[in-house]
C-alpha cells in the first residue's frame, strides 16, 4: 500500500539519520511512501510565535497538497511538524470561518480529510504486525524512552497516548527486546527551538534529561523527534560544558533501534551521522 510522507525540513538536513532509518524500515517491510509533492516548511515555532495566520496557512498548504494528490494517510516522523499539522487541522475544523480565510490565503481547496500519523502510530499500524518474524538481533539494552513535548501535547488535541508517563514507545521498544526503565523525564522539554538563540537554556534542560537517564543506568535514550535528537546529540559538547560533565549516553531514534533489531547495519540506519558515538550495533 502507498501512503504519504511529510518529511519536514529537519529530515532533509540535520536529521538525515532519522530519515534514513524511516526509509530503511519502510523498505525492509515492503512499505512504499509518496512524498507530498512540493511540500513546504510547516512554519515551526517561528511562525506561531510571530504570526498566527501564517502558522496556520503553512501547514494547511501541506495538507491541501496531500489531499490534491489523493494521499489519505500521511506519516509525519518529526514530532514538531506532526503537532503543527494536527493542531492546524483541529483549529480549522472547529472554525469554518477561519478555514475559509486560510483556504483563500493559500488559494487551494482544503477539506481536512487526510489522516495524520506520528511515527509511533505508523510503527504500530504497519511494522508491529510483521515485526516478530523479522527480529534477528534483539535489542537487549536498557533504555530510557524520551517522548519530549510535541508527540503527546497538546494532549486534548492530539489525543495520543497519556500526557504524563506515556507508554507507546516503551511498548515498541520492549517488543524488540529492550528493557525500558522507569523514566520521569519522559515528557520534560529539551529546550526545543531555543537551541541557537539560547543555547544555555537548552544545555541546562537537555542536561537534566541526559543526567537522569545515565543515572538510571540506561544504555541509550530513545527518541522520536529530530529537535529532541539534535538538542541531546548535536548539543552534547555544550551540555557537557554547561554541567561540567562527560555524558556519553547515545541518543537513538526508535526507528534506528528497530532497524538494528531486524539486522540492518548501523550505516544503513544513519547511526554513523550522530555526534555522540553509538557503540550499540
Amino acid at each position: 500500500m502507498k501512503f504519504g510522507i511529510y518529511p519536514g525540513c529537519s529530515l532533509t538536513g540535520s536529521a538525515r539519520d532519522y530519515n534514513e532509518s524511516v526509509f530503511a524500515l519502510a523498505e525492509a517491510f515492503g512499505l512504499e511512501f509518496t512524498q507530498i509533492p512540493d511540500w513546504n516548511c510547516c512554519g515551526a515555532t517561528a511562525a506561531h510565535n510571530l504570526n498566527k495566520e501564517l502558522s496556520l496557512a503553512l501547514p494547511t498548504r501541506i495538507l491541501a497538497l496531500a489531499e490534491k494528490n489523493g494521499l489519505e494517510e500521511i506519516i509525519v516522523p518529526c514530532a514538531a511538524c506532526y503537532s503543527r499539522l494536527v493542531v492546524t487541522r483541529h483549529e480549522l475544523k472547529n472554525n469554518p470561518e477561519l478555514k475559509n480565510r486560510i483556504s483563500e490565503v493559500i488559494e487551494m481547496d482544503y477539506r481536512g480529510t487526510s489522516k495524520i500519523l506520528n511515527v509511533i502510530e505508523w510503527i504500530d499500524k504497519y511494522i508491529i504486525p510483521k515485526l516478530d518474524e523479522k527480529i534477528v538481533k534483539p535489542f537487549n539494552y536498557k533504555v530510557a524512552c524520551y517522548y519530549g513535548c510535541l508527540l503527546v501535547r497538546p494532549n486534548k488535541v492530539l489525543g495520543y497516548d497519556r500526557a504524563e508517563d506515556p507508554q507507546t514507545m516503551d511498548v515498541v521498544m520492549r517488543k524488540i527486546g529492550a528493557d525500558t526503565l522507569e523514566y520521569p523525564y519522559k515528557t520534560e522539554c529539551c529546550g526545543a527551538g531555543l537551541s541557537i538563540s539560547r543555547t544555555d537554556i537548552v544545555s541546562k534542560l537537555s542536561g537534566k534529561i541526559i543526567e537522569d537517564a545515565e543515572h538510571r543506568g540506561a544504555d541509550a535514550i530513545i527518541v522520536a523527534c529530530p529537535m529532541c535528537h539534535s538538542n541531546l546529540d548535536m548539543r552534547r559538547p555544550d551540555i557537557n560544558k554547561y554541567w561540567d560533565a562527560e555524558y556519553k549516553i547515545p541518543v537513538i531514534f526508535v526507528t534506528q533501534a528497530i532497524g538494528l533489531a531486524i539486522g540492518l547495519t548501523a550505516d544503513k540506519v544513519g547511526l554513523k551521522r550522530h555526534f555522540v558515538d553509538v557503540k550499540i550495533s
Binding site: S14, C41, P154, A192, I196, I201, L205
Partner: protein, 186 residues
C-alpha cells in the same frame, strides 16, 4: 452578572485574550501548577502563574508589564502548562497572542532580541525557498544577532556528517509561498 458584562467598556489585555484566543484569565485560581511544570520558569522574569495574576487585575500598568516581559519570549510552547492546568486555560495560545501584541505595540523586551532574531531568520529562510535552509538560517541569524563566532565549529562537523546543505532547495511553489507571506503579513 458575568465577568465580561461587569467590565463592559474594558479595553484590557484580558478582554483581548477572551475575544481573540478564548482565554479567560479570571478562571485562574493561582494553584501554580503551570509554573511548577514550566521548564523555563527559572529563567523567566514573570512565571506563567504570575502572568495570569497580572492579567486578572486588568490594570494598565500590569498589562504593560506582561507585554514588556522577557517571559513571553522564553516560553518554548512545550504545552506542559496547558496539559496540567486544572482549569484548562490555554496558556500556550495566550503566549502566542501576547508575543504578537508585544511586537505590534513595539514593547519587546530587549533581552529577547536574539530569540526574535532567530525566529525572523527562520521565516526569512522559508519565505524565499519554501523549506528551511539551515545554513542560510545560521548565517542570517549571525547577521541579525551579531553573534559571529557562536557555533562556528558546528558547521564543519555537520557538513562532514552530511547534515548541512550548502545550497538551498527551492520548491516549485515559491511564488505561492511569497503570496502566503504577503497575505498574512500583519
Amino acid at each position: 452578572m458575568s465577568h465580561s458584562e461587569h467590565h463592559k467598556e474594558r479595553n484590557t489585555l484580558a478582554s483581548s485574550l477572551e475575544k481573540n484566543v478564548e482565554v479567560i484569565a479570571q478562571k485562574c485560581y493561582q494553584c501554580g501548577k503551570c509554573t511548577a511544570g514550566c521548564p523555563v520558569a527559572d529563567d523567566m522574569d514573570l512565571p506563567p502563574s504570575m502572568v495570569m495574576r497580572l492579567l486578572q487585575t486588568e490594570i494598565p500598568a500590569n498589562d504593560e508589564k506582561v507585554l514588556r516581559s522577557h517571559s513571553i519570549w522564553l516560553c518554548v510552547t512545550c504545552e506542559m502548562c496547558l496539559s496540567r492546568c486544572p482549569m484548562e486555560i490555554d496558556i500556550p495560545s495566550m503566549m502566542d497572542y501576547l508575543r504578537q501584541r508585544s511586537r505590534s505595540e513595539k514593547k519587546v523586551n530587549k533581552k529577547a532580541k536574539n530569540i526574535i532574531a532567530f525566529h525572523k531568520s527562520f521565516l526569512n529562510s522559508i519565505r524565499f525557498t519554501g523549506r528551511l535552509y539551515e545554513l542560510g538560517l545560521i548565517l542570517d541569524y549571525k547577521r541579525q544577532s551579531l553573534n559571529m563566532f557562536q557555533d562556528i565549529s558546528l558547521a564543519p562537523k555537520m557538513i562532514s556528517r552530511g547534515k548541512l546543505h550548502l545550497f538551498p532547495h527551492l520548491i516549485k511553489g515559491t511564488a505561492q509561498m511569497a503570496k502566503i507571506f504577503k497575505k498574512t503579513s500583519n
